[in-house]
C-alpha cells in the first residue's frame, strides 16, 4: 500500500516549498515545532504512581522491540519494582550480579518505609544503590531516553518517578591506529565510534577542568549525542556560542556521521572547499583545542570536527609537530607545491601545449610534438579522459577489499597506461602528467581538500583548453575571490596569509621550532595569546662543559 509512504512525503515537500520564514538556510526543517520530540509523541504518556500502568505504557511504547528487557521483582521482598533496559546496550553482568542481588536483598525495613512513603525514592539511591551514576527521572520521555541510551531504569510501585542507572556498556571497536592519518612518529590512538571513549581520550590528554564538554542531542530518531568540547580559557566564547546555536538549529531525523553536521553548520554551504576540518586523531583535536579551537565529537563516528578551520590546516599534518622542524617545514613546502600541482599541472600542460608553445624549449616541444603524432584526441580531451580514468581507478581501488584494490590499481595503472600509450591513444607525456598529478593529490594530507582540488582540476582543465593561461588565470582569480569570501565561524579562511599576520606565519608554510612558537594563532587563540614561556630555546648548560679559557654565564 503505497499511500502512507507517499502522502507524508508529498506533504513534506509541499511544506518545504514555502518555508515559514524563520528558516533561512538549509531547507532541512520540516516545519512545525512539535517535531523536536521523538516519535511517538511521548507527551501523551506520563509516569504515574502505579507501576502496572507505567509498565503498560512502556510496553506500548516499546511494542515490537524484541531487544527491550523488562524484569519485575520485589525490592527488599516488599515493594514491587521493575527494571527496564535494552539488551546489548547494558552491562548485563553488572545488572545480574550486582544490581539485582542488591535490590532484591535490600533491607526489608527500607522496602517497608518506601512502601509506606515515609521515605523518598532517593533513599534507594542513598542507601543501597551499588552504582554511582544514578539519576532521578520524573517523566516518561526521560525514561525512554535513558533506556534508549543504554541506561537501566528502575521503577517502583507507588512512585511517579524512576531511577535511571547508568549501566551502559556495549560492544565496540577497540582503540586502533588511525587509518586515514597514520604517522611515523606520534600517538597511535584514534577515535572510535563510542563517544564516551572519545571524550575519555581527550580528557586523558587534557587534565584540566577548563576542558568543557557540552552535550547536545540531535536527530529525531537517532538521538545522537554530540559533544562540543573546548578549553574555556582559550576558546572564543563567541565561536562556542555560534557552534551551539548552529547545532541547536539543526532539526534532522538522523545523524550517522559527523559529515551530516559539517554540512549543516558550514558558513558557506555552496562552496566546494571544506570549511570544517575533521580528524580521527585525539592528539590533533587536543592541539586544536590548545590553540583555542572548538571540537565537535559525534557519537558513532570516529571523526571529530574542528572549528574554526583555516585553509592552511589542510596542508598541515599532525606529524609536522612531532618531527624535526626542518623536515616538517620542507614537507609543508612540498605539500604546498603538491597542492598547486594537483590543481594546475594538467591545465598548465594543456595550456602550454595548445596555446603557448613558445614557452617550451625547442627540444621539448619537438619531443612532445612527435609523441602526439597520430593521437586522435585534442590534448584537453586526452587529459580529461586520462584524469577520469585515474579517478575511476582510485575509486575502484578504495572500494574494493584492500588486497584486491591494490592489485587493481597496479593492473589498472600499468596495463591501461602502457596499453593506451602503445596503442597510440594517449601520449606518454600525458600519462606522466596525470600520474604526477595523482601522486600530488595524494600528498595532500586532507582528503577533503584533495577531493575539492580534483573537482576544480577539471574546471581548470576546461578553462585551459579553451583559453590557455588566460583561462587558468580566470579560474584562479575566481577561486581566489571565492576563498577570500569564505569564513569559518567568523575567521577568514585564508588567515593568516590574508588578513596578513606575520607572527602566524610561523606555522603556515614552515613550522618554526617549538621554542619559537610562543603565541597562539592570533585569529583563534587571541584570548590568551601566550602559549608558552619566552626564551625556551635550549642552550647547553654552561657548567656541564665549561670552555677552557673563560667561563660563560
Amino acid at each position: 500500500m503505497p499511500g502512507p509512504y507517499r502522502k507524508p512525503l508529498r506533504a513534506a515537500l509541499f511544506r518545504r516549498r514555502k518555508p515559514p520564514g524563520q528558516q533561512d538556510k538549509q531547507g532541512q526543517s520540516q516545519g512545525s515545532k512539535a517535531q523536536k520530540a521523538p516519535y511517538p509523541p511521548l507527551e501523551a504518556y506520563q509516569l504515574t504512581a502505579e507501576l502496572k500502568l507505567n509498565l503498560e505504557q512502556l510496553q506500548r511504547i516499546f511494542a515490537k522491540c524484541s531487544d527491550v528487557v523488562h524484569r519485575d521483582f520485589y525490592l527488599g521482598q516488599a515493594i514491587k519494582a521493575a527494571l527496564f533496559y535494552i539488551d546489548g546496550l547494558v552491562d548485563k553482568k553488572l545488572i545480574e550480579d550486582t544490581l539485582m542481588r542488591t535490590l532484591q536483598q535490600a533491607p526489608p525495613q527500607l522496602a517497608r518505609e518506601l512502601a509506606d512513603r515515609t521515605r523518598d525514592l532517593a533513599a534507594v539511591m542513598e542507601t543501597i544503590m551499588p552504582l554511582t551514576d544514578v539519576a532521578v527521572v520524573d517523566n516518561m520521555g526521560a525514561v525512554v531516553k535513558h533506556v534508549l541510551d543504554g541506561d537501566t531504569v528502575l521503577l517502583l510501585d507507588g512512585y511517579n518517578k524512576g531511577l535511571a542507572l547508568s549501566t551502559r556498556s556495549w560492544e565496540h571497536r577497540t582503540i586502533d591506529e588511525p587509518i586515514t592519518e597514520s604517522v611515523v612518529r606520534g600517538p597511535r590512538e584514534s577515535f572510535i565510534e563510542s563517544l564516551r571513549t572519545n571524550t575519555a581520550l581527550l580528557r586523558r590528554r587534557l587534565k584540566t577542568p577548563s576542558l568543557k564538554m557540552e552535550l547536545v542531542c540531535l536527530g529525531r530518531y537517532t538521538m545522537t549525542n554530540i559533544v562540543i568540547t573546548y578549553i574555556e580559557d582559550l576558546a572564543d566564547p563567541a565561536v562556542v556560542r555560534e557552534v551551539r546555536q548552529r547545532l541547536e538549529r539543526i532539526q534532522i531525523d538522523g545523524i550517522l556521521e559527523s559529515a551530516y553536521i559539517e554540512e549543516l553548520i558550514e558558513d558557506n554551504p555552496t562552496s566546494p572547499f571544506p570549511q570544517i576540518d575533521h580528524t580521527e586523531r585525539p592528539d590533533k583535536v587536543v592541539a586544536a583545542l590548545l590553540e583555542g579551537r572548538v571540537g565537535i565529537l559525534v557519537d558513532n563516528t570516529p571523526f571529530a570536527l574542528i572549528v574554526p578551520t583555516l585553509f592552511v590546516q589542510f596542508i598541515q599534518s599532525s606529524e609536522d609537530y612531532y618531527e624535526r622542524y626542518y623536515l616538517s617545514s620542507f614537507l609543508r613546502l612540498a605539500r604546498f607545491v603538491a597542492l598547486n600541482i594537483a590543481l594546475l599541472l594538467p591545465a598548465a600542460y594543456v595550456a602550454v601545449s595548445t596555446f603557448h608553445q613558445e614557452m617550451l624549449p625547442t627540444n621539448l616541444l619537438v619531443k612532445l610534438a612527435s609523441q602526439r603524432e597520430g593521437i586522435p584526441f585534442p590534448a584537453v580531451v586526452e587529459a580529461i579522459m586520462l584524469e577520469l580514468t585515474f579517478e575511476l581507478l582510485r575509486e575502484a581501488g578504495v572500494r574494493l577489499p584492500r588486497p584486491v584494490g591494490q592489485a587493481l590499481s597496479i593492473v589498472g595503472a600499468l596495463v591501461i597506461g602502457e596499453a593506451a600509450v602503445s596503442a597510440g591513444l594517449v601520449s606518454p607525456s600525458m600519462v606522466i602528467v596525470v600520474a604526477l598529478t595523482g601522486i600530488s593529490s595524494f600528498a595532500i594530507p586532507s582528503f577533503a581538500m584533495a577531493i575539492t582540488l580534483r573537482l576544480l582540476r577539471f574546471i581548470m582543465l576546461i578553462l585551459a583548453g579553451t583559453l590557455g593561461f588566460y583561462g587558468i588565470m580566470l579560474g584562479l582569480l575566481a577561486i581566489l575571490v571565492h576563498l577570500n569570501t569564505l569564513r569559518s565561524f567568523g575567521v577568514p579562511y585564508l588567515a593568516p596569509v590574508t588578513p596578513w599576520n606575520f607572527s602566524d606565519f610561523k606555522d603556515v608554510l614552515v613550522r618554526v621550532p617549538r621554542w619559537a612558537m610562543n603565541s597562539r594563532p592570533s585569529q583563534i587563540g587571541y584570548r590568551d595569546p601566550v602559549r608558552q614561556g619566552a626564551g625556551l630555546k635550549p642552550t647547553p648548560p654552561a657548567s656541564s662543559n665549561p670552555p677552557p679559557e673563560e667561563g660563560r654565564s
Partner: protein, 365 residues
C-alpha cells in the same frame, strides 16, 4: 551608504598600486619614450611629484571628512543638488576609466596573445570575475591583492633581473638632451595614469585606522613611482629609446626578451597570467567604486545589485569607446592628460576650496 568591511593602510596602499600600475607598466613606457626619449624615467618621477598634489588634495579632503567617501562629502560640501551632480560626474569619470582599462586589457590580449579571439570575449570574461569580486566588497578585493601582489612583484623583479644582461647603460645617456621640456611632456602623459591614485578618495573612508591614510597615500605613490620608473628604465635600457617608442606593449616586450638560462626562455605567458591578475584588481576596484558611488548618489542602501548591470554596461562601453588601438594611444597622449587633470586634480581642488570657504568639516562618524 556604508561598506561593512575595513581595510588596513597597507592594503589601501597596495590597492593604489593596483589602481595605477597594471595598465601603466604596459602602455606607459613606450608612450614616455616617444615623448621624453631616454629621459622617460625622469618623467615618471616628475609626474609623481605632480601626483603628489592629488595625494595632498585627497588627504586634506579626507581629513576634513573622515569616514566619508568622495561621493558623500561632495554632497556635504556643495549641498544636495550640486553635490549630487558633481558626485555623478565622478561616478561617470570612474566608469569611463574602468571602460578604458577594460578596453586596453582586451586590446592587449587580442594583439599579443590570442589574435583569433574576439576582444569582447576577454572583456566579458574578466568583467564577469570582477563583478563576482566587487560584489563581495572592498575587504575581499583588498585581500585578493595579498596574493597577487607578491606574484607581481616577484615577476617584475625576475624580469628586470634577468634582463640585465640585455641592458646597456649607455641607452640612458645623454640625460636631459633636449632640456627639461620633453620630460615635462612625458610627465603629462604619465599623469593620466598616475593621477588615478585619486581613487583613494573613494575608498579611503574604509581605511582603518583613518589617520594612517597619509601613510598609505605616500607609500602608494612612492611604490607606483618606484615600479613604474624601474620598468620604464628597464625598457629604455634594453631597447633604447628609439626602439622602445616603437613598442606597443613595453613591459610585455621586456618580458619577452628575458631568458632564464637555457631552459626557461620565453616567459611571457607567465607575464600574461600575472598581469591579468593585476588588471583584474584594477577593473574590480574601479567597478566597485563606480557601484558604490552610484549607490551613494542615488541614496541606496546597497551597492551590490548595481555591480552586475554596471559591469555589463562597462563591457558595452569598452567596446564602444574606441575603434582601434591607435585611438587609445591618441587619447592617452593627447586627451587623457587634460581630462584626468580636470577631474582628478582641478575638481577635487575645487571641492577642497569650497569646503574651506564654507567651513565644512565633519569630525564624527
Amino acid at each position: 551608504m556604508r561598506e561593512e568591511g575595513y581595510i588596513s593602510p597597507r592594503q589601501a596602499a597596495v590597492l593604489l598600486w593596483f589602481a595605477v600600475l597594471p595598465t601603466a607598466i604596459l602602455f606607459l613606457p613606450a608612450l614616455l619614450a616617444l615623448r621624453a626619449h631616454q629621459d622617460a624615467w625622469l618623467s615618471v618621477i616628475v609626474a609623481t611629484l605632480a601626483a603628489g598634489a592629488v595625494a595632498l588634495v585627497v588627504y586634506l579632503l579626507a581629513q576634513r571628512f573622515p569616514h566619508h567617501t568622495l561621493f558623500q562629502y561632495c554632497e556635504l560640501i556643495l549641498g544636495p543638488v550640486t553635490g549630487k551632480t558633481v558626485a555623478l560626474i565622478f561616478v561617470l569619470a570612474f566608469f569611463l576609466l574602468d571602460a578604458v582599462v577594460i578596453r586596453e586589457f582586451s586590446e592587449f590580449l587580442v594583439t599579443a596573445v590570442m589574435p583569433e579571439t574576439p576582444a569582447l570575449f576577454f572583456s566579458l570574461s574578466i568583467v564577469a570575475v570582477a563583478v563576482y569580486a566587487a560584489r563581495n566588497g572592498l575587504e575581499v578585493i583588498a585581500r585578493c591583492t595579498d596574493f597577487i601582489l607578491p606574484l607581481m612583484v616577484t615577476f617584475i623583479a625576475i624580469v628586470l633581473l634577468f634582463a640585465t644582461p640585455e641592458m646597456a647603460p649607455r641607452n640612458l645617456l645623454p640625460i636631459l638632451e633636449n632640456g627639461f621640456r620633453p620630460v615635462l611632456g612625458g610627465a603629462l602623459v604619465s599623469w593620466s595614469f598616475l593621477g588615478q591614485i585619486f581613487i583613494l578618495a573613494a575608498y579611503g573612508a574604509f581605511v582603518n585606522p583613518p589617520r594612517a591614510l597619509r601613510a598609505s597615500l605616500i607609500s602608494g605613490l612612492l611604490g607606483i613611482a618606484f615600479f613604474l620608473s624601474l620598468v620604464t628604465m628597464g625598457t629604455i635600457l634594453v631597447f633604447g629609446s628609439c626602439e622602445a617608442a616603437r613598442l606597443t606593449f613595453a613591459a610585455y616586450a621586456l618580458a619577452r626578451v628575458v631568458s632564464l638560462g637555457q631552459f626557461f626562455e620565453r616567459i611571457e605567458a607567465l607575464f600574461l597570467a600575472i598581469w591579468v591578475g593585476g588588471v583584474f584588481i584594477k577593473i574590480t576596484i574601479n567597478l566597485y567604486v563606480v557601484a558604490l558611488g552610484l549607490a551613494t548618489v542615488t541614496g541606496l542602501k546597497e551597492y551590490r545589485p548595481l555591480v552586475a548591470p554596471l559591469g555589463a554596461l562597462n563591457v558595452a562601453m569598452a567596446t564602444l569607446l574606441y575603434r582601434n588601438i591607435s585611438e587609445i594611444r591618441h587619447d592617452l597622449l593627447l586627451v587623457e592628460p587634460g581630462w584626468t587633470l580636470t577631474w582628478q586634480l582641478i575638481l577635487p581642488l575645487f571641492l577642497l576650496v569650497m569646503a574651506w570657504l564654507r567651513g565644512k568639516r565633519r569630525t564624527g562618524i
